[in-house]
Amino acid sequence: MLKVTDLEAGYGGSVVLHGVSLEVRDGEAVVILGPNGHGKTTLLRTISGLIRPSAGRIEFDGKVLSDMSPADIVATGVVHIPQGDLPFPELTVLENLLMGAYLPEAWKQRKEKLEQVYELFPVLRERSRQLARSLSGGERRMLALGRGLMSNAKLLMVDEPSLGLAPFLIEEVYRKLHDINKSGLSVLLADENADHIAGFADRVYLLEMGSIVGEGTAEDMLKNEALLAAYLG
């Protein structure tokens, strides 16, 4: 469904991604592993249209995303949950969630979607009238995920869902993401370490200095611990 070919992108003059190619198939959970600063966020932001690629091609369900606006890309079903959550701080939790359903199609079903999100993240129901800026780190992460799920996503791209959370919360977030994936949504996830691949990922890409240096099924990758260890230190 998502096919990225020879993607090149960066900031101003400096190129960060040097010809990245990868693929996410229907229903898959794919993880991009890469150390700090090697281009994971840049890659996801380019796919979602926040950064214009300087070369290469991004396709989703037969549509070419590489020259669409971020708003049009969301409408195709590619939804990006950004690193650091980026909540709307002065809006309530409920209003944040509603903005996730901003596009007309999703807006029509916002009541049902809201129920589903509250079901998955009960804490958001309790906090629904609170301003987003008053949430704890864990709650903010749940809000970011819930807000993404309010859309009509077909592919959920999640940037470092473990960032800055206590270990038990990381476990919980990955469990939720696994459930979301099993309910039929494809997931493309970026992370810094291989701790949570087992039981979650179908396939893994290794990103180094803006290039894909390895690819394989999760089992193969985990068997090849030498490679992972050398690579992720």
Binding site: V74, P82, E90, L91
Partner: protein, 292 residues
Amino acid sequence: MEKLMQAIYGGIVYGSIFGMMALGLTLIWGALRMLNLAHGSLYLVGTYIAFTLVNILKVPMVPALLIAALGTAVVGFGIQTLLLNRILGKPGWDVGSLIVGVGVGMAIDQSILLIYGPRVKQMPPLIPGIFKIGRVVINYNYLVVVAVAVISLVLLSVFLSKSRHGLAIQAVSQQPDAAQLMGIPTRTVFLIVMCISAALAGLAGALLSTVYQVQRESGANAMVMALVVTIFGGLGSVKGTIWAAYIVGLLQSFLMVYLGAGTALPGVFLFMMLMLVIRPSGLFGLGEAQRL
């Protein structure tokens, strides 16, 4: 007692008007991070559209007000699509947007001078007549001005906090990246904000043309007060701006009534400076990160 009532009454009148002007300024700051220096000129556009319609074309007052607001919104639409969109999102936006504001403001002010000449003009009140409560003179015209201002402030607040598009405006102001990731088309939102802001300035200009004389200087005066209120309330905060408008309005009115008209403006500025020392981000200021 009469003095007190007089002061409160004046404060409400001023506050309502400041609120209309300042809210437009704060919305644009919030969404576009632009200090719109043409805001006072947009006020003048409203004034002179109303003047033309009422005094020259003999259009009744109510449609004239609506047309003034709409006409000014169209000017805002033009500024956004023809000028601002060209530099939006490019390096140098901070300075570039200021220059666009100054340039557009000068173009509007000078055009008005060319078309209407330098002479001060007079408009009829919306509703003539007065009544008295004790010895406080209440002007029907002022009451209408306050009512229209309050109704538009309330409608706008409800729009911003309840509707899908209003929330989207807030979302874009608070976290533009995330807003784009929700599918919110930021450029369309900027255009809507510019039109609303211009319409408010135009409506304020049209309304006040029935209270003050019609002259070019009133645009700059309105702009200065709007700026004071916006800074006082915390740039970008809608709630703060509305509160600040009435606080500044009351302050100005109390100074005028108790200490004389000459003390009003210096007093307001002094108060603003004190306030900024105590609370640098304004009354309801959003954190530094939000404002820059």
